[in-house]
Subunit: 405 residues, 2 copies
Amino acid sequence: MTTDSWVEVSADGGYGVENLPYGIFSRPGELPRVGAAIGDQVLDLAAMSAAGMVEDRRYFASGSLNAFMVAGRAAWAANRARLVEVLTDESYRDQVEPHLIPVADVELLRPFEVADYVDFYSSEHHARNTGRIFRPRDEPLPSNWKRLPIGYHGRAGTVYPSGTPVIRPSGQRRTPGEPEPSFGPSQRLDFEAEVAFVAGVPSAAGRGVPTGAFREHVFGFVLLNDWSARDLQAWESRPLGPFLGKSFATSISSWVVPVAALEPARVPPPVQDPAPLPYLHCEEPWGLDLHLEVLINGQVVSRPRFASMYWTPPQQLAHATVNGAPLRTGDLFASGTVSGPERDQRGCMLELSWNGQEPLELGDGTTRSFLEDGDTVTIRAQAPGASGSRVTFGEVTGTVHPTRA
Amino acid sequence: MTTDSWVEVSADGGYGVENLPYGIFSRPGELPRVGAAIGDQVLDLAAMSAAGMVEDRRYFASGSLNAFMVAGRAAWAANRARLVEVLTDESYRDQVEPHLIPVADVELLRPFEVADYVDFYSSEHHARNTGRIFRPRDEPLPSNWKRLPIGYHGRAGTVYPSGTPVIRPSGQRRTPGEPEPSFGPSQRLDFEAEVAFVAGVPSAAGRGVPTGAFREHVFGFVLLNDWSARDLQAWESRPLGPFLGKSFATSISSWVVPVAALEPARVPPPVQDPAPLPYLHCEEPWGLDLHLEVLINGQVVSRPRFASMYWTPPQQLAHATVNGAPLRTGDLFASGTVSGPERDQRGCMLELSWNGQEPLELGDGTTRSFLEDGDTVTIRAQAPGASGSRVTFGEVTGTVHPTRA
């Protein structure tokens, strides 16, 4: 049974009081501000705080979640408890109802300001598949892969909110077999279905964030599409990794799901063999039972499960900071493509079409090796929530537009 | 002959009116604000603007240069002309002199807020040397190296001002020959002597910044030390590039040298063969005749020359944006290690000691394979300025501190 709210909430919608994700919304002529999703409504937290019904106004009368994200775990927990209280106790209805706005009437904006953006590579199935495709003569998994969560820094300035058009990037690429590189629009445009977490509370330089301190620093999770130009990426990446093949666009979902909402989704991750070094040891299981769906033009093409990820979020955070790099509020850490062992669990076109060798059939009779102009890619996810409920991540979506002349 | 200022300026100091670099300074109990260096003085531009003697106060009564950097080339030129006027025309002396502060009496802070940080790899000598050291069985230069300026995103949150202590990072590394990786403080800590430019004026998403538009967007140049843990880097970098081996610290110099001050330093870069693709073609010569010096504990160990860099700053900027990634104010682009053909022109310990095989002798009778705790690394640079003057970059310095327990 889900916990009852006096707000109408559909059982399958995933926006009950067990979720209460935060986002930034605006209406025409009004300033952007913080809201929480409940059912098909947005609860205006700026108005709620102005009315003295929730905490400190500085958190919520803001165009980003950063002020609230830095407030820390106790403030997050207190606000969450208060929201549950006012949304379940019928006696608050008259005071709260004026601050509910149908989500259809608002625009959802980028939820937070990104400080640094890191992208990992933590699905063993994805790593093995891309190894086979890109480095067919080598072992699919690099020798370091099971020793540490491989990652790299991406471009924070091109992390865009869901719905932002994705302009097909141009760049250098070399067609295999051709001696010379050429310049033009990417011919191998791809998506990558990922899950990301965002830091709220900074950490000190020179000190890492141990796996056990994950909840003290991390505010919540979003869905992320790491748009990728495979031809640019393949040509540029040696020896320093991806650059222009990734930096043109990264999309994130509008609602940030609090860490607390995902506690019921925690499951044991895959067995890690060899055992990781002590700084990567995690006392608690931090696999997350998130069920993703990837849609191209409304057709479901893949159903990756996040529980299959080899490296977990606390391990990623401990690794990224073990060299003494401090966390800043807004630091964003993405999982890498979420791919499972089955073809219909693969999280990007590169794998789904096996680099174009096995074009993917869409339900409309067309096929895809890579993305075409006009294609819309949408990633959704749900997780088990408290009291038998479901917790939804909503979606991250984007439509491919042609290269600008 | 240099242009005369009524402020006392030593001919060799490099802080004449031909330079006029910008920085952020503070004095005890006062707010950080913008200053310009002249001789051994800082001209307090916040005070000058409050007195109506230079442009708009919003530029200068700020703890970062970002507000002025976004103002654009016309504003930069107008302010520069005005500073030259008031510092050379004796009739302004009585009004201006009260706003000069000895540089010894101020603290210099981080000059700007970094948006994204990109690090290139644009010295052919450095690329060949590292290729020989890290990938001895392959061609030293990757096949893409002369086709595009290879680069990657670094961590913006760990770009620190000159003087910030550098804490030796810990992390995973595998000793060659050992089957298992281990964890501990880096045993191969290095510096990299680099030159970087910072963007002032943003560009639109989906549009690149052509080489000819460099001056419209770029505010100025700094020196940069890309501190590197070679053992961490070697183990983690395959296949996605450097991560923790670089992200613990990057240091930049305090003064930002305006692009205009470096016009007299422009020289033809090395011949580029094969000819780069059209989007990388540059009408004007943009090699820069900067003479760098690297000092360890006060001993000069290297004198790299920036004029030997294969890829130029306008080519780097055009490349980094050709995929449609927009520029933001504060985007920082570093050159990669500046190394020349001679041993005493190599810009990092990895090359100077040939990965520890040929330890470097310091003047104090000690040798170094890599950096030790307590070592201070200082990078300086000078360039020819207008009217036969010299333009100095000042220095970027940092001292290695032990890993925190």
